[in-house]
Structure formats: C-alpha cells, structure tokens
Amino acid sequence: MSTTTPATQSSNGPSANGSRATKSKPVEGAVRWLDDRLGVAKGGRTMLDKIFPDHWSFLLGEIALYSFIILLATGVFLSLYFVPSSAIVVYHGSYVPLDGQKMSAAYESTVNLSFAVRSGLVIRQMHHWAADVFVGAIAVHMIRIFFTGAFRKPRELNWFIGVTLLTLAIVEGFLGYSLPDDLVSGTGIRIAYSIILSIPVVGSYLASFVFGGNFPGNGLIIPRFFILHVLIIPLVLLGLIGAHLGLLVKQKHTQFPGHGRTEKNVVGTPMYPTFILKTTGFLFMVAGVLWALGGLVQINPIWQFGPYTPTRISYAVQPDWYMGWLDGALRIMPSWEFTGFGHTIPFEVFLPAVLFPGLTFNLFYLWPFIESRVTGNRKSHNLLERPRDRPLHTAVGATGVAFYFMLFAASSTDVLANFTQISLNTVLWFFRFAVFVIPLIVGFVTWQICREMSGIQGVGKRKRAVVVTRSATGEYTTVTTPPRPGDGHKELDAEPVPAFIESEPEPVGAGEGPGVRRISRQD
C-alpha cells in the first residue's frame, strides 16, 4: 500500500480549531473549571500529547510499578487485621493442630486472617506473590536499563533512584514476610541478629539496640518491623517512585535508534488515548495474574510451620527468593574467622552478609561513573544501544547476572542435593568453585556472541520471506514477499500528534472504504 505524505494544515487561531473539534459540554465545563483555578489546559494538552516509545522492553518497569500499587492496596487490607505484637496468646481458632498452643499475637492474627476472614487468604497470598514479582520486575527492568545503556548521562540520577528502590524493595520484602512471626521467617530474623552482631566494633551494640537486648530481645522487633514495613519504607518508596517517574517525564524516555528516531526527538504513541488505554489494561492484567496466583497457588502457609520460638528449627529453610543470594553466600563461605588482639572478626558471616552486599550496591551506584571513566564517553545519550553493539559492556553485565544467579542457586544446596541425589558435600564444593568459574565462562561466551552478531548484516531485523521459483527451463527467480501488516506501519515518517482524534462515526461518503473515519467535518 502506498503511503501518502501527510499534508498537515496549520490553523491560524483557536476559532479555526474550535469549529472542527467535537463539542462536549460536560468535558468543556470541567476543563474550564480547572483552568480558571489552576491554569492547566495548556499543560494538560501537552501531557496528553506526550509521546511514549513503544518497545516492549520499556514496559518492564511498569510491571514493577503496578505490582507496587497492588502491594499498597492489598497491604492496606492486611493492615486492618494484622496485630503487630509479640505478646503471647493461646490459639482457639479453626485450625486444629494449633489449638491450645501458645503463640505471638502477630502469628495468631495472621492465621485468623488466613482462615477466618473472607478473601483474607487470597489477599494475603496476592500480597506475597506481588512482593516476589515486584522485586523480580525491578531486577528485570534494571537489567534492561543496564544492557541498553539507559543509565548514561543525563539519566544517572534516575539510576541512583532505581538502585535505591531495589535495595528498599528487598528490605521491605524481608520485613514483610517476617511479620507473621512463623518458624521459617523467625529463623531468618535470628540469622539477621547474628549478621548485625558480626559487624566489628559496633556489632554487639547495634544488635542489642535494634532488638532490645540479647536475642530474642524485649519483644519489640515485630512492632518495629511493622512500622518500618507499613509506614516508613513505603513513604520513602512512594517518594522515590514519584521522583523516578517525574525524571522520566522531564527527561523523556529513551528509544532505540531506527527510522526517524534521533537524539533530539521521541517517536511513539501519544499518552491519550492510546498509551493510557494500553497501560491501564496492563495494570488489570498484572492484577489478574497476581490475584489468580493468590487464589490458586499457595505461598507461605504459615499454619503448617507453626509459631517461632528460639529452640525450634526446620530443615530445607530458605529465605524468599530475593534474599537467596545472601543465603547462598553464607552457605558457601569458608569458615574463616579472625581471632587476635583480644577480639574476633567473624568473617564467615561479616564478609558474605555485610561486606559483600555493601560492595554490590556500591558498585551498582557507582557504575555510571565507572563506565564513563573507562569509555571516556561524557556526552548525553537519548538513543539506546543494542547490547550486541557493545560486546565488552554486555559481557560484563552477563558475568554479573550469572554471578548473582549462581549465588541464588547456592541457597538451595540441600534441596538440590535431595533432588539430584548427589551428596550435599559435593554440591557445596561444586558451588564454591562454580560461583566464580561459571560467570567467567558466561561472560566470555557472551562477548564472543556479541562480537559475531554485530558483524552480521541485518541481524535482529524482521526478515521477509523470499519465494524462490524455478522456471521450466531451470532458472531461478526470487521474489521478496510483501511486507506484513504492521511492518510498513513503522516505516512511516513520524508526525506530531494531530489536533483531535475523531470519536463519532461520520456517514461514509462515496469512494471511502469501510472502517475509515472522517477526521475533518464540513462546516
């Protein structure tokens, strides 16, 4: 189909536009009311025209954003039932194996929420699934940002905010799943105490302050976790997410290079109505997946674990997935403890659980500066780069991802040993070496693949099928198939968002096909 060059007509004043625009008394009334008080009509129109580049990988951050909204909503519900107290109560609810047992009020309220509140269990599980997906989406989004170079000037600030959001999301998740005070999460809290304790010089003081004494403390740890989890950290998260999105609006989104896309423009679909509709639909789909998981797949069945007491323990205890890298590090670390000069530095805990995550997050924060130093590139970038075009950068990133992935896997040594019937000792020794060797192999292979790919013409582009026909006399002819619907669409030249988009169907005139809406109206 031939593409007509769009001939836009510029109008000379509001009256020319006004006579063509669709009239709507209620909407105009509302716009006037707001504009008289806030002056928002012009800015509002600009916002409606905001262009969003369309690539699918730009939607990963939205998965995180919508999971967060769902966490807020379900969290409000849960906070109306949860009792953040370690006071001992005796259970007399519907779950028989717990009947008559002593437990904290926090645990009892969670069991009651699961069994005695309508939709309580689904919402509680949806909240937990949403937390897992939230951190997972942040990780996937962060990986996309890294590999496409979207963190470069002028977006380093947004990268910092993002890394902070990741850290806070992980902490928030840990606090959240520790609130029910069940056997599995209580064990995690015990380990957290030992981690704080391992810090040289101040560790024993810090641990005693946070917990209110030697473990288990004075009973204030659950209420403190609660207020951090429902008030302090969500406020910081909200503020940072607002700043994150605000920066995105101010600096505009990045885009991949392509037809008509330059460093000085943004090409895509307008905010209203296209993007808003697609993204609202996405919100509902995220909610749908999480709600379905919340009702159909059990997560954290605390009634099966029983309440936490310091003498109880279970085997096959792992933290939630986003803490797994720390648990894996704790497991594979050799038992190197330094004792001397009247003091002890327990490196077997301090290194994997304090120094190593500290190094990790510092490295994340500093990355934009490290990279601009190493590459000498201090220009602003609004165009992204394909990962294959920067083999070394991509290889370093792949090595990092593989390294953390190996640590996650190391957290499940006992489950793996049981599943594969390989000795636990062998599995552990395997991970002690694999955690360094495998990322290096992954990095090298990635580097090679990227270098090869970037040398190939037309790699990554949509291929058109070529039909080869052989004539009766033996000659070959090749015919490239015509472009598919949507292919040619994107090769149109981009143009500014037009004055209005027709919403009422006009009578179809002669010569116009079905489905075509008339835009301009006869006066």
């Binding site: 189909m1 593409t3 007509t4 025209d49 030992s194 004494g213 159909l296 981009a494 037009p498």
Partner: protein, 306 residues
C-alpha cells in the same frame, strides 16, 4: 488574560497514522467486547462466590480471569483500534545558557556572604554546629532503642549444679535416653523463651562405650552422655539435626557439620568454632547435672569475643 494560542496540526481523514492497526476493525471490536464481557462476568462471579461464603480457589480463578480478561480487552482496544502513529515529539534541551549558570552560581556564593567579612570563622561555626547536631540527633534514634549488650553475650544461666530439664521442666535421669538418642535440655528454672534462646543445649548419648571429646575433658561425659550448646557458632540457628550413625550434628540453616565425638569440632561448612561443650556429672539420685557452666561464650562470633 488568556495565553497565546498554539497552532495544532490537523490530520487528513485517510492519514495512515490515524488508521487502526486491526485488519478488520469490526471483528476486533467484537473480540474486545467479548474480553470485556469476560471481565464483567469474572467480577460478578467473584462477587457471588464471596456472597455465599467465599472459597480461595474459586475466588482466585473468577476474579483473576475477570481482571485479566478486562485488562486484555483494554490493551487490545488501545493497541488495535486506536491510532498508533508513529507520532513524534521534540526534545527540548533543558540545559540552561552559560549566563544562567553563571548567575545561579554567583547568587549562591555571593548572596550568602555579602555582609559577612569573617566568613571563615562564622562558616566554621555553622559547619561545626550542623555536624554536632547531626551526631547527637542520632543518639535518641539509635541508643534509646535498647540496652547495651553488657555481659549478656558472654554468659548463660548454666552453673555448677544446674539440673538438666526438658522443655516441660522434667529433670533428665540417666536412664531416660537410649543409645543414639538426643534431647533438647535447659537449666532448671530457665525454660522460658527469652532464656532458652541462649541456654538451649543438646544432650546426646552417641555410643555405648566411654569416650573423651578433648584432652582435659575426661569427666565431662558420664554414662556416655555429652552435651553441647545448641546455638550454632555460625549464625545462631538451633543445631538439632543429629546423624546417629556418623555421630555428626548438622546445622539445618547453612549445613555446618560438627563431630560429636570430638568436641563438636566443625568438619564441614561455614561454622568457625566447635560448639561449646557443657561438662556433665550424675548426682546421687541419678539425675544429670552440669558440673560447671560453659567455658566460653556460646553462639556466633562478635567483636568482643576474645
């Protein structure tokens, strides 16, 4: 007064930018309609299930499918029935001019120091005040949270003469455990949770023959009973997993392995130190009693541990 009007472009009716992506918009409209209908049906079904008492799996499938269908319909509407463009927006460079940067810098520097001549002295006081205020404001934030550790990390409630009791407070008698048996024990009178966290001790009767765990501990294991602190020296989990035939304690958290016959020496895994051993003796009535407390702090390492 109203703002200057802006010239907005107008698109022609056959502009390909305005055309929907769908090949057959009428059919796509129908599909979107069905999806939205699935959404509505899902919402209503969830409401119904809730009304009659609720059931997690039914609630999950109805509202889940409803929400997903509804969202799918909305996104399909946006993707297939609305103009996809491509449209363009210009990026306006937001960096200010050199004059503006110069003006901002000088405003910050000059205005603050215009009337002041002893800048260094006053500036130093300002910095010192802010710094000290910052430090002391941290005090209530941190120190008020709880007590200092004192000696709590270094002692337990086990003393010479403490009877070994189980969680219910019953004293342990020499005949109670079979060979190969284990039990969790506490000093008599200290079975409550806030003590048991560090007092908890594992009592094992590993073998039939007498054994010595380490030189100097010849009389610590009467009747082949041996007792170790149950708090793992790695990160504090209760070491409750006993492999009877290998005479090893395995910590369930990070899989440290301790040799029971050799003073709970760590033989595998991240634990750095053996589990402290509690010296035992048997009193005249046949009950197990500690002949002394632990000879070192129990549990994970910390700075003050020498």
């Amino acid at each position: 007064m109203t703002a200057t009007p802006v010239a907005y472009p107008v698109a022609r009716f056959d502009d390909p930018h305005m055309l929907p992506l769908a090949k057959n918009p009428r059919r796509t409209e129908r599909v979107v309609g069905i999806l939205l209908l699935i959404g509505v049906a899902g919402f209503a079904s969830y409401g119904g299930v809730y009304w009659v008492g609720g059931q997690p799996q039914l609630e999950g499938i109805f509202l889940g499918v409803g929400l997903f269908g509804f969202g799918f319909g909305l996104s399909a509407w946006g993707k297939y029935l609305l103009p996809q463009g491509p449209f363009v927006e210009d990026r306006h460079p937001f960096a200010s001019s050199e004059e503006d940067i110069e003006a901002m810098t000088s405003a910050v520097v000059d205005r603050g120091t215009m009337v002041v001549r002893r800048r260094g002295f006053l500036g130093g006081l300002l910095a010192a005040g802010s710094g000290i205020m910052g430090i002391v404001l941290v005090f209530p934030l941190l120190r008020s949270l709880g007590p200092t550790p004192g000696k709590t990390l270094e002692t337990t409630n086990w003393k010479a003469g403490s009877h070994l009791v189980d969680a219910q407070g019953n004293r342990i008698h020499r005949a109670d455990l079979e060979v190969g048996g284990i039990a969790t024990v506490f000093p008599e009178g200290y079975t409550a949770d806030n003590f048991s966290a560090y007092d908890q001790t594992i009592l094992i009767r590993p073998v039939k023959y007498p054994f010595v765990t380490k030189p100097g501990r010849e009389d610590w294991t009467p009747d082949e009973y041996v007792a170790y602190s149950k708090v793992c020296t790695h990160a504090g989990c209760p070491v409750d997993l006993y492999q009877e035939q290998l005479y090893q304690l395995l910590c369930p958290c990070h899989q440290s392995l301790f040799d029971v016959l050799k003073g709970a020496q760590p033989v595998f895994g991240p634990a750095p130190r053996p589990l402290p051993q509690l010296p035992l003796k048997i009193d005249e009535a046949g009950y197990l009693v500690a002949s002394a407390g632990y000879d070192q702090p129990i549990g994970p390492g910390f700075w003050e541990r020498s």
